[in-house]
Each structure stands twice: as structure tokens, then as C-alpha cells.
């Protein structure tokens, strides 16, 4: 690799990052509890067409019949679904207004997050669709995108404006029946993002959505649908932070990606939801269903940096349906204090010559438990399927745990599946070496952790990588005595 001045410069640039604050914005919140009436009310509130209301009701029916699963390696107090409010919108929100009309308090909040909208607007190549407590409050760069025929809007808007696309693809990768939380989401999803890239179009900018939970006791049910039509390309960024709260908050999102023939989707996530305090109180429950469908020669990469949530259950997956399709999963999962994470991926090889790569980096500190669970499945038709998996764990201290559960199901003899796993501990000699250069132990650990995670951080777009790096530092603060 040539090492240019430019790269050197980039490496030297630093950025401020702050977190953990609460913004006081009036919200309009539904009464707690879930029933057919509430589902209808949500749909009505959002002025949805009848087909959508029926779709939701069907999902609700399915959900009622389902039992909440016992997750493999996480333990938590189950949410009371009748104690959650299923709809909340910032009162002053109006999707048509300009940035100048946006609640100044909101803008202030984004500023604190280092992602202020007015800055973002100026920022080249980043279009921002902000989802704040379920409803989009600002959308930028729409015009540039529209010129290319790209649709990037809230899912609510898409339901009204592009029903043919939504009808065709919503629930096509994650059906309502898929799992308990996917069914719940299908019934009550509040908002989320929708993106469609037309045939042969390369999306000229990174598309990003910043999610945020801001109402106590408000369940958060995002729905994201990204469709890359034939031979198109899009890079999508999703970032989340939540203010500190003393109450468990439930988050059950569904993300569906459709990568048609020869198309490519890069989906990057930086997730920083409130993990609970040092005693393990509070924190977000994060049960997410993320899945991608790859048609012929298509490619999907999931890259994620997970530092937040009290309990995380998440397996971004790829269904490699088309021949020669490629699925990638790059992940960093950090757990500290009493956090529990059970994350991983599923690579389902259906087509011939399909390839998948899994790089998972788990970092455990405090009393946390970090599990990687990966499934590589090769169907009998999938000749010459290839998979490479690498799972590295880094332990800090003696009270945390790292667990790796790789599952392999190969029904075709020509499959080649490789799995590598390592576990290491941060060494005292490494820390002393850093100390001797004037770097205190906390910073030294951040540095070592960043180094450990580099292969994955490198997969993130530059802007995001810097933020992710900061996030790693913040999450591990106070993890050594």
C-alpha cells in the first residue's frame, strides 16, 4: 500500500464527540398498550392507505399467536408489551419544512452529537434523513438524488408515494411470520427510511440516517427498506445514540435489503444506545432483524460497530440466492459493565459460486458477556460455495466472557468453509509501553482496542470510522481500575 501524505493527514485528523444528554422536546404519545385498535390508530395517524392497515393487522394477528423466544445466551427481564406506548412523534415535526424551521432544540441536540444538520447539509456527499422518535423531521439532498431517480425518504412517505415498490418488497426478505419481534415490528412500525436506487445508477453520496430514542417508555420500531435495482450501487449509513435513561427501552427494528442482479449495497451501522449504568441498570433492549437478499452477481456488505444496548440480539444476514453473489459481514461488538450481546450473522448460500466473508471482533470488559453466533449454510444446489470466517475476541480483565458459536451446515460437497478464531488479552507490557510514551492506561486501552478492530473500522466510510473510533474509546472508559 502506498502511504501518501493525504493518508497520513487523514490519520492525524481528530474529531470531538460527546454523548449522554437529554433533550426536552414535547411529544405526542399514544396511551400505553397494544390492541387491534392501537394498530389501526397508528395506521390512521400516519394517513396510510387501506392495504397498509390490513398488512399491519395481519402482522398483529400473527404476533398475538407467537411466544416471545428465550434467547440463547442473554438474560433479561422481559418487556411488558402492554406497558409500552406504540407511537410518539415530535410535536413540531413537519416533513415539508426547511431546516430553518426545525426545532432549534433538535438542531442543538444533533450539534451535541457532532452531526448537526446545518453542518451536514454543507458536508459534501452526505445526505441525511433524520429519524427522531419515529417520525422524519428533516430530509436533505433530496433534489440531487431525485435528479438521478433515487428515492430516499421516510417509509411513511414511500407508502403513500411509491406504493407499488413498497407493496412488492416490504416483508419480502423478512416476512411477518419470521420471528416474534419482526411480527411486532410489522404491526406497529412507526417510521424508518426507504431507499430505491434505479437500474444502473451509482448513488453519488453516502446515505445516512441517524436514529435516536428520546421518549421514556416509548417502544421504537423502525422499518428500513433499501432496494438496489439491477447494476446499481448504494452505501447506506445508520447511526444511533440515546440519552441516558433509567428505564429499559425496547427497540425492535427490521431492516430489509434487496440487491438485484449485479447490484451492490453497503450498509454500515454505528450503534450506541444507552447500555445501562455501571450497576447494569437501565439501558436499551435491542432486538433487531436485519436481512439482505442478493440476486445474481449481487453483493451486500454489512459493517457494524456495536457499543450500546443493555441486551443486544442481532444477526444481520445475507441470503445469497443468485449465482456468484457475495455476502460480507464485518463487525465490532463491545460489551462493558453488565452488557450482554449475542450477535453474529447468517450466510445462506443458495446460488452457485456464492461467496461470503465474516470478520467478527468481540471486545469484552467489566462483567459483560459477548457472544458471537454465526451460521454458514450451504444448500445442496450451491456448488462451489466459499466462506471465510474469522472471529477474534479481546478480553479486558477476568470477569468478562467471550463466547464463539460457529454453526456450519453444508449440504454440498464442493463447499469450502474456513473458520479461524483467536482470543487475546491486553498485556501489561503493552500498557506499560504506552504509559512510557506518555499515554495513560485508559487511552492505551483505547489505542490497543482500535488496533484490534482496525480491519473492520477500515470498512467504514471515513466520516463514520472516526466517529466509531471515538465511540469505542467512550464505551471502554472506566473499564480498568
Amino acid at each position: 500500500m502506498a502511504y501518501t501524505e493525504e493518508e497520513l493527514k487523514k490519520e492525524l485528523e481528530t474529531k470531538e464527540y460527546e454523548y449522554g444528554f437529554y433533550t426536552d422536546i414535547e411529544s405526542e404519545t399514544f396511551p400505553v398498550g397494544l390492541s387491534e385498535e392501537i394498530v389501526i390508530a397508528i395506521s390512521k395517524k400516519k394517513e396510510e392507505p387501506e392495504w397498509m392497515t390490513l398488512w399491519r393487522l395481519e402482522a398483529f394477528k400473527i404476533w398475538k399467536e407467537m411466544e416471545e423466544p428465550e434467547w440463547a445466551n442473554v438474560h433479561y427481564e422481559k418487556p411488558d408489551f402492554q406497558a409500552i406506548s406504540y407511537y410518539s412523534a415530535p410535536k413540531k415535526a413537519d416533513p415539508n419544512k426547511t431546516l430553518d424551521d426545525v426545532d432549534p432544540e433538535l438542531l442543538e441536540m444533533y450539534k451535541k452529537l457532532g452531526i448537526s444538520v446545518d453542518e451536514q447539509k454543507k458536508l459534501q456527499n452526505v445526505a441525511v434523513d433524520i429519524v427522531m422518535d419515529s417520525v422524519s423531521v428533516a430530509t436533505t439532498f433530496k433534489k440531487t438524488l431525485a435528479e438521478k431517480g433515487i428515492i430516499f425518504c421516510s417509509i411513511s412517505e414511500a407508502i403513500k408515494e411509491h406504493p407499488e415498490l413498497v407493496k412488492k418488497y416490504l416483508g419480502s426478505v423478512v416476512p411477518k411470520t419470521d420471528n416474534f419481534y419482526a411480527a411486532l415490528n410489522s404491526a406497529v412500525f412507526s417510521d424508518g427510511s426507504f431507499c430505491y436506487i434505479p437500474k444502473g445508477v451509482r448513488c453519488p453520496m453516502e446515505l445516512s440516517t441517524y436514529f435516536r430514542i428520546n421518549q421514556a417508555g416509548t417502544g421504537q420500531f423502525e422499518r428500513t427498506l433499501v432496494i438496489a435495482d439491477e447494476a446499481s450501487y448504494v452505501s447506506y449509513l445508520e447511526g444511533c445514540t440515546a440519552p441516558s435513561r433509567d428505564e429499559n427501552q425496547l427497540h425492535a427494528a427490521v431492516v430489509e435489503l434487496i440487491s438485484l442482479d449485479d447490484a451492490e449495497i453497503k450498509y454500515s451501522t454505528v450503534q450506541n444506545w444507552f447500555p445501562g449504568n455501571k450497576e447494569g441498570k437501565g439501558g436499551v433492549y435491542n432486538f433487531v432483524t436485519k436481512r439482505a437478499l442478493c440476486e445474481k452477481n449481487a453483493k451486500v456488505s454489512w459493517t457494524q460497530v456495536e457499543t450500546g444496548s443493555a441486551v443486544t440480539w442481532k444477526y444481520p444476514s445475507c441470503i445469497l440466492k443468485g449465482d456468484n453473489s457475495i455476502g460480507e459481514f464485518y463487525s465490532i461488538a463491545v460489551t462493558n459493565n453488565y452488557q450482554q450481546a449475542d450477535t453474529g450473522t447468517k450466510m445462506i448460500h443458495l446460488g452457485k459460486n456464492t461467496k461470503s466473508t465474516i470478520i467478527s471482533k468481540g471486545i469484552s470488559a467489566g462483567k459483560s458477556q459477548n457472544s458471537y453466533r454465526g451460521l454458514v449454510q450451504v444448500s445442496s444446489r450451491a456448488a462451489n460455495a466459499r466462506n471465510f470466517s474469522q472471529c477474534d475476541s479481546l478480553l479486558m480483565g477476568n470477569e468478562c466472557g467471550a463466547h464463539t458459536f460457529p454453526y456450519i451446515e453444508a449440504k454440498n460437497k464442493s463447499a469450502m468453509i474456513e473458520h479461524e478464531a483467536t482470543t487475546s488479552k491486553i498485556g501489561e507490557d503493552q500498557i506499560f509501553y504506552c504509559n512510557q510514551r506518555g499515554i495513560d492506561t485508559e487511552k492505551a486501552i483505547a489505542l490497543i482496542v482500535n488496533g484490534f478492530s482496525k480491519e473492520v473500522l477500515n470498512k467504514l466510510p471515513m466520516e463514520f470510522a472516526v466517529e466509531a473510533q471515538k465511540l469505542l474509546e467512550i464505551s471502554l472508559e472506566g473499564s480498568v481500575g
Binding site: L8, E11, G438, L447, G451
Partner: protein, 250 residues
């Protein structure tokens, strides 16, 4: 500048340093020699503040300040630098990134802002040229897969970047080829001034031909058993340590 007074240090109740006295004045170069296991690296670690070693008696004083309760990173901020005998690897952290962090942490301790990227670039360019280090090298993970000589040269690059007051070079010469030894020594000499001091730990006279010491000390069994001028190193090269060991036990 640096005073070491009756320093005793042990690890796991085993005494390794048994009463060391040493005074290093600004502008001076001190060489410490001595057989394997005599305590040279331990002395450098104790000066740098490694907590693994327990100081049971005596003091390390830097510019009048007793360092007893000063953490290793604060000692570094105050100008102590140790070129390690065995530099550790930090996978995934580039030399550049590591140095950037080290420099900015030092500045933060002094209440300064981060060094602007351009200034940092200039400094890196200047120092890497001085030590004839290929720029590509700086993007590699710190010490990972570095050859023995490359590790040592990199230690001196870090010294050049940090410009310490007291630099301790623990067997920096071992592993360096003849050309590298010259380049690295020249580098060290360029960094010398009337305001800083260097302590070189070595087994070989060769290094001392380049970095000429004002004093040579022989460490044996946790004590300095002989001190002299640069000619003592020549004498040691000729006679070995046995005569001193005998002298010490008498």
C-alpha cells in the same frame, strides 16, 4: 538532572537493585555496562516507573522532584524516555498513529492543544529522514513483524519525536547492523544538547565509539561496582567482568 539515591527495588520479594547511586547532569552521557541479569533493565524500568517493581528504599529524583508517587505516563511527560530492550508489538496501531497519540497526550498534560496535522507531518518527515526511515514503514503496525534492528531504530525515532530530557537506551545497539548503528548513533548525537542527558546501556564498546560517554558504570548484582571514564569500557572489553566481580566481593 537525574539523581538516584540508594535505590533498592524488588519483584516478588526478590531484591534486584541493592542500593544504586547515580547522578546524571545535563549534557552528560552515562554508559551502564554489566553482565546479564545484573539489573540494568530493571534499573531502567524503575526509573520509568514500572509498577511491577517495588521500590523498597531510596529515591529517583528528576530535576529536584522525587518521583515516588509519579505515574509512568507523568514521568514520560516530565521528560523521561526509555528505549526498550524488547519493544512490544501493538497490532493494528500504526507507528504514525501511536506517535500522534503520544505527542498529543504529552501536550494535553502541559495544557496545550493537539499538534496541528501539518506541524505533525513536518515533524514526522524531519525525524524519519534523520533516521533514514522509509515513510511506508510508519504506516505499519507498531513493532509487528519488525526485524530486531527495525524495532530499535523505531525506538530512536520515537525518542526523536518526543525529545526527552533524560533518555535511557537499553541495549539499543543490539540487533543493529553496522550501517544502522551509525545512523542511529548519529541520530542520538543530533538530539543531544546541554539541557538533556542520555544513559546508554550496552554490552559493547562499539556503540560507545559513536555515542561517547562521559562516565561508564559497571552494574553487578544490583550494585554499581565501578565507575570511570570512557576508557573503562575499553578495559572491560579486554578483561571481561570477572576481575570486577572479585573486586566487589572483597
Amino acid at each position: 538532572m537525574l539523581q538516584i539515591k540508594n535505590l533498592h527495588a524488588s519483584v516478588e520479594d526478590k531484591e534486584i537493585l541493592k542500593g544504586i547511586n547515580l547522578e546524571v547532569k545535563p549534557g552528560e552521557v552515562h554508559a551502564i555496562m554489566g553482565p546479564n541479569g545484573s539489573g540494568k533493565s530493571t534499573l531502567s524500568s524503575v526509573i520509568a516507573g514500572k509498577e511491577e517493581f517495588e521500590v523498597t528504599e531510596g529515591q529517583v529524583i528528576l530535576e529536584g522532584e522525587d518521583l515516588e508517587d509519579v505515574s509512568p505516563e507523568e514521568r514520560a511527560h516530565k521528560g523521561i524516555f526509555l528505549s526498550f530492550q524488547y519493544p512490544v508489538e501493538i497490532p493494528g496501531v500504526s507507528v504514525t498513529n501511536f506517535m500522534k497519540t503520544a505527542i498529543n497526550e504529552g501536550r494535553k498534560a502541559k495544557g496545550l492543544e493537539d499538534m496541528p496535522a501539518n506541524e505533525m507531518l513536518k515533524l514526522i518527515r524531519e525525524k524519519s529522514e534523520m533516521l533514514e526511515i522509509d515513510r511506508k514503514f510508519l504506516s505499519r503496525s507498531l513493532n509487528e513483524g519488525f526485524s530486531g534492528g527495525e524495532k530499535k531504530r523505531n525506538e530512536i525515532f520515537q525518542m526523536a519525536m518526543l525529545e526527552p530530557k533524560v533518555a535511557i537506551l537499553d541495549e539499543t545497539d543490539s540487533g543493529l547492523d553496522i550501517d544502522a548503528l551509525r545512523i542511529v548513533s548519529n541520530g542520538v548525537n543530533k538530539l543531544r544538547s546541554k539541557d538533556n542527558a542520555v544513559i546508554v546501556i550496552t554490552h559493547y564498546q562499539r556503540l560507545l565509539e559513536y555515542i561517547v560517554p562521559d562516565f561508564v558504570h559497571v552494574l553487578h548484582n544490583g550494585k554499581i561496582v565501578k565507575s570511570g571514564g570512557k576508557e573503562l569500557a575499553l578495559e572491560l572489553e579486554e578483561k571481561g567482568y570477572d576481575w570486577l566481580k572479585n573486586e566487589a566481593t572483597v
